[in-house]
Symmetry: C2
Subunit: 134 residues, 2 copies
């Protein structure tokens, strides 16, 4: 089985609410996490919501990191998706968990871009609505 | 069980390589997909790789859409993550599948931000490397 990428979906609970609501700090953590994993940064886009919460993404040569925070719940949804062999997405995840001061984390790693069509254990085929296409 | 968001991970195979390698077109498809689902766009960041391939993200009020393309393989990795009840992430996905002219798609929907700690069926707890923190 050949997969192009590794995608970690992480749920970070009991984080520091002050960190989660600081857009500059969250952006810095995500950028530093990408660098800590050895990734090459291409684009950075972050947004602060009112009254609270941050969303942002770091596009890297190897794919992306994203985060969405709910300071009022102490929760952040984190994705780290990397392609190639020289970056370990868990390195970025652990950097993020530490700097959000997460008290509890749940995460899963999924393979992306499995090119053998007979070997896609985690994904379900879906209907293509070609009839609705122009 | 209360979940904050819905996250679709989609693998689109047998897409039109010319579409997958056109950064302006891919960006337009992703933006229009967000709008088709009723999402509110906050940030857009796309990057064209040499010799081929596109990566990009649309940050929306409801979370994000991302895409990474491999024109040489006819493959794209697509994520649509939405929070709240007024946006259906499948609407965005189907728009994208159609406009990439995907021949085959596999996808899965995962819940994000499950706030009952006893009910996280798909994610595994992971160790926090607090000892490595500063």
């Amino acid at each position: 089985m050949r997969a192009l990428g590794r995608h970690i979906l992480a749920e970070a609970y009991d984080c520091d609410p002050a960190v989660l609501d600081d857009v500059n700090l969250v952006e810095s953590i995500m950028v530093e996490a990408a660098l800590a994993a050895g990734a090459e940064i291409r684009q950075v886009a972050f947004h602060k919501f009112a009254p609270q919460g941050v969303s942002g993404v770091v596009v890297i040569s190897e794919s992306h990191l994203t985060i969405h925070t709910w300071p009022e719940l102490g929760y952040a949804a984190i994705d780290v998706f990397t392609c190639g062999d020289h970056v370990d997405p868990w390195d970025a995840c652990h950097y993020i968990f530490e700097h959000l001061r997460a008290g509890r984390v749940a995460a899963t790693e999924t393979q992306r871009g499995i090119l053998d069509e007979h070997d896609t254990p985690k994904l379900q085929p879906v209907a293509l609505r070609r009839d609705a296409a122009g």
